[in-house]
Symmetry: C2
Subunit: 248 residues, 2 copies
DNA sequence: TGGGCGTAGATTGTATAAAGTTTCGCCTGT
DNA sequence: ACAGGCGAAACTTTATACAATCTACGCCCA
């Protein structure tokens, strides 16, 4: 369970195992399919905050009944990237600036600790996987594929969390990364240069050298830089301000 | 949203608002009712790890259809206190010693930070509420009410998290507290003296004095003491060892 | 007598239908 | 012309029925 090698995910194993004879190939876990599809869309900035996620609509896309769609949406709501309003439906979450500050504070706290564990767990296999990931990031960046860049940038942090072997931190960080993606989409300043890949490379180097202090420092400055690129004033839409001032 | 006063929870407001005419008094949110009922049972050590949570069974208890029960169980599974096995059903989670170590490490990390925020947010209203809670704890302890003691002990930590005004830490800590309850139930050494109330009082005193360092130190030693009372060797049941060795 | 196989019962997974709520358009009255 | 209210459509929520799967008991055979 706390395997530190970059092994296959457990749910993949379970999926393969529990597919005995059904003629539908994806019968393993269709709700996971939906959840990961929507999550990927959010991480790649294809789904914008506030977008309505109708049950029929999604169900038709994935060929699933609303029962399955509903469970997937509830899981996403628990992860904080979807808001479910009673009798209204599910919407892509719209984090407030206050949420954004909380998310980044939590990321600093958790990811600095994760980096420590990652340094302890360093191995050739992991270094290999990290550098392979860096290559993917660079390639997407050169290709100008913004969507892939955003997604890979988040996956880098998740990779280090997996490397730490700390499943609780990993779960927490998954949530924080997904919310960060929404936050960046909402509040990033207009002209943002290619972010992160160099920082990521520096973090990997420090981890490879088992340089605890440098790795932490690099991660901290990386997160701070991301947050510094944000403009955390009241959201652009005026309705939001109204909702904040009057309602909750 | 980030109100630092001990106000009512937002969902309670929503519940009250969306109860216009229904003749059923508990119409607010029956799935929450189920979820909180089961959670309370776990926190009070009435439900033991491994207990089967049949859908029909729970549905009959709460007078709800399986649809709602299923929703509640899925939420609990996401919080890590219930395991759902495909085509087998839901069971109260049985944390491994490795899980226990992760939970307490995460609690140390998060609760030390939460205490800092709580010191910043100190106010007469909050001090009042904390001391009122301490009184409840002492009373339950004198009364010899073990179940109430366990529950209140967890609620103390949640209270400080609410005081910090950091909703993300609060959500994380809720999960960790619930899992801690299961861990303590599974791994606590036989003879355990009345735990915690004195520590809790010390923490409140330090917070009241805005003594940052002392508050952190008290919280740290408190958590360490709880973990020290645990015997984190392989679980009593041998099947568990088998499952760990062979399966995952 | 012990083990393997098959069927029956029970339980969960999924889909569909009924019920309740919200929203939007239209119509009427001023 | 505009404000307010009524009504229908769309959607979510909840319940129920059906299908798939697992567990357990009993029978048969070696």
């Amino acid at each position: 369970m706390s395997s530190t090698e970059p092994s296959n995910q457990s749910f993949e194993l379970m999926a393969a195992k529990s597919r005995p004879k059904s003629d539908v190939p994806d019968a393993s876990d269709r709700v996971s399919r939906i959840r990961e599809g929507v999550t990927a869309a959010i991480l790649e900035h294809r789904l914008l905050p506030g977008t309505k996620l109708g049950e029929d609509e999604i169900g038709e896309i994935y060929g699933a009944s609303r029962t399955l769609v509903r469970t997937a949406l509830q899981q996403l709501a628990h992860e904080g990237i979807v808001n479910i309003e009673k009798n209204r439906g599910a919407f892509v979450a719209r984090p407030t600036p206050a949420d954004a500050r909380e998310v980044f504070e939590a990321r600093r706290l958790i990811e600095l600790t994760i980096v420590d564990h990652a340094v302890d767990a360093v191995s050739p296999v992991w270094i290999n996987r990290l550098q392979q990931h860096l290559a993917e990031e660079r390639e997407a960046e050169q290709r100008g594929d913004a969507r892939a860049s955003v997604r890979l940038s988040g996956e880098f942090h998740r990779l280090i969390a997996e490397m730490s072997g700390h499943s609780i931190y990993l779960g927490f960080l998954k949530e924080l990364i997904a919310r960060s993606s929404l936050i960046i989409l909402l509040y990033r300043r207009h002209d943002t240069p290619a972010c992160g890949t160099d920082h990521h490379a520096g973090i990997v180097t420090a981890i490879r050298k088992r340089d605890n202090q440098t790795a932490r420092a690099q991660m901290l400055s990386h997160l701070n830089e991301i947050e510094a690129e944000l403009f955390l004033k009241d959201p652009a839409a005026d309705e939001l301000r109204l909702a904040d001032v009057l309602g909750a």
